[in-house]
């Protein structure tokens, strides 16, 4: 097995075993999808209008929840030094970690979203648009989040600072993602898919390099 796959599978295993990853994010996402209707009221027509945006914000927040530990856990227990000295470059390591985070968080969130959209009474086409937009857009959340995680990995309160620096960067993903749901509901197309896909692709390709630099700086500190 290549070092890349070794790191990827280890991170996947960790996310399943240590309550840090997949399950917590899913629970958080589901709770957001439950609490909003409880606050707004059970009017399914109103909920359907807001559903896309709320579920997208919920998914982005849920994915960020486990992101602060992406590098931090390995930094604190010394694993990150060993990873840095391994045959795998830090860029490769960052990419493996981003991929593992998406597989353990973004993908399950995407798969859960059609079930949660039942709470908002979304129509069939809107559910498909939401699921598709999350499938396209959540890699961007993992990728941009990884940059934030690499910058805050040595901070004690990194978990609080991370959303503050990452969420502004995720504005395009949330806007175009929720936009795809709106397009499905109204029938008007503005090409949100294209923008979302471009943003997600660019983020996924560039962020390993930036994140690796962040890790390097923190290891040297």
């Amino acid at each position: 097995m290549t070092p890349f796959l070794a790191l990827l599978t280890r991170d996947l295993r960790l996310s399943v075993r240590e309550g840090g990853g997949a399950v917590l994010a899913l629970g958080f996402f589901a709770l957001v999808a439950t609490l909003v209707p409880l606050g707004v009221g059970p009017d399914l027509n109103l909920l359907a209008k807001m559903g896309g945006g709320i579920l997208w914000v919920g998914a982005a927040l849920a994915a960020l929840l486990s992101l602060d530990r992406l590098f931090q856990a390995d930094y604190e227990d010394g694993s990150l030094d060993l990873i840095a000295l391994s045959p795998l470059s830090l860029e490769g390591a960052a990419f493996a970690k981003i991929a593992a985070h998406w597989l353990s968080t973004g993908l399950p969130l995407t798969l859960l979203s059609p079930i949660l959209s039942v709470f908002f009474g979304l129509s069939g086409s809107a559910v498909i648009a939401l699921t598709m937009s999350l499938a396209i857009g959540t890699p961007a959340v993992s990728a941009v989040g990884a940059i934030g995680a690499s910058l805050t990995l040595s901070l004690r309160r990194g978990g609080l600072i991370l959303p503050l620096i990452v969420l502004p960067l995720l504005v395009p993903a949330v806007m175009f993602g929720a936009g795809m749901v709106l397009e499905a509901q109204t029938g008007l197309t503005n090409g949100a898919v294209g923008f979302l896909a471009a943003f997600s692709l660019a983020a996924s390709l560039l962020s390993p390099f930036v994140a690796a630099q962040g890790v390097r700086l923190n290891l040297a500190g």
Binding site: M1, A6, P87
Partner: protein, 208 residues
């Protein structure tokens, strides 16, 4: 195989603090260098610098392998077997899973069972790391160091948390590694059990 490591006019800097200045030394294949010094003297930082994790404030560290010279920090790291302060263990991984991951990460697989036997952890192979004692965790870290099969060992307090038997094991492993032509640089309060030569610089003491 690496013939020698040369440090020339090194400045070890952590943040804006200068810990060591103008330090030069050479370690040849088969030699063990022990770094001594008070807490905060920069032993760990020097080890991190040699590993290429910390950039040098000034000067250079070069590995000589045949005719090639390796001085690029990230390139240097690929020759380093690292034993740090922390044991780098995940609570939910079993001992053998933990070792297997690092073997794969370092591109070397196969003899995990033998390595666990060598450090005296055969019985704990299927035990999750959360149930290990501090000494057992240290032994697992040693097995990982062996699994990396790197020529240049950088050891930060290799005797910490170990009992007498464990300390003897470390000394034996170091002697074995040197015997096979490896290089060892260790920050420690105790003797490595090899013939040492002392070299004083600043408030850090280097023994060769």
């Amino acid at each position: 195989m690496i013939q020698s490591l040369t440090a020339e006019k090194l400045t070890v800097q952590r943040g804006s603090r200068r810990l060591v200045e103008n330090l030069s030394f050479t370690v040849k294949a088969g030699q063990a260098l022990s770094l001594e010094g008070a807490n905060g003297a920069g032993k760990t930082s020097l080890l991190r610098l040699i590993a290429g994790l910390l950039p040098a404030g000034a000067g250079s560290v070069t590995l000589h392998e045949g005719d090639t010279e390796i001085s690029e920090p990230e390139e240097r790291g690929k020759y380093v077997g690292w034993l740090g302060h922390h044991d780098a263990l995940k609570a939910s991984f079993t001992v053998s899973e933990q070792l297997a991951f690092f073997s794969k990460l370092y591109g070397r697989e196969g003899d995990e069972i033998a390595l666990l036997g060598q450090v005296g952890l055969s019985r704990q192979a299927e035990l999750p790391c959360r149930y290990l004692s501090a000494g057992q965790r240290r032994r697992l870290a040693l097995a990982r160091l062996l699994a990396s099969r790197r020529p240049l060992w950088l050891l930060d307090e290799p005797f910490a948390a170990l009992d007498t038997v464990g300390k003897a094991l470390v000394a034996r492993l170091i002697a074995l590694h040197c015997g096979e032509g490896g290089l060892v640089i260790a920050a420690t309060h105790e003797s490595l059990g090899l013939s040492n030569e002392t070299l004083r610089l600043g408030n850090a003491v280097l023994k060769l």
